[in-house]
Symmetry: C2
Subunit: 105 residues, 2 copies
């Protein structure tokens, strides 16, 4: 993943409406207008949020009739979690290193 990909990923999570959309489409299927009905904003605004999530690989869209079905994409989610796991690993290694130094001293 490029820096830009990671930027997009975390940027997509940095909005409460988008996090809620991810949550909902993970549990069930929604059309874009089905999602739009849930929030106190215009259809176009929600459509933009979905587009942001799609670019970040956090959801996928599939045309069904005149509707566009939005579904959660596990890949993107897993990647984000794995990235944060890396940071935690770095932290753990540092903690171990400090423990070693204290043991020596």
């Amino acid at each position: 993943m490029s820096d830009a990909d990671v930027d997009r990923l975390f940027q997509a999570f940095a909005d409460a409406t988008r996090r809620d959309i991810v949550r909902r489409v993970t549990v069930a299927e929604y059309s874009v207008s089905g999602l739009a009905a849930l929030y106190a904003m215009s259809f176009a605004a929600v459509q933009k949020h979905v587009a942001v999530l799609e670019r970040a690989s956090l959801v996928t869209k599939e045309k069904r009739g005149r509707e566009q079905i939005v579904r959660g994409n596990h890949e993107g989610l897993a990647k984000a979690r794995r990235l944060l796991d890396e940071y935690e690993t770095i932290w753990r290694q540092r903690a171990e290193r400090i423990a070693d130094i204290l043991a020596e001293g």
Copy 2:
């Protein structure tokens, strides 16, 4: 954590320079100017990045003489990872639910 807190947290991660800073200050201590020397941008720009990370609780600053020492803050990092874990849990539950339905059918 409020929505705004979570926004700040993921927003802070949505920039490659800031992710690099988090990585570095997790492994070792840096002054703000020590960090600034690492990147092809002004001191003020780096100082702003550190401020963003501090507001997101991803780093802490401590005054030492005329320097300000930046350190990683494990709390913030752990919170972010825990949040993404929640999403993964939701996903897993969905997967189990689907498996159940398939088992029934």
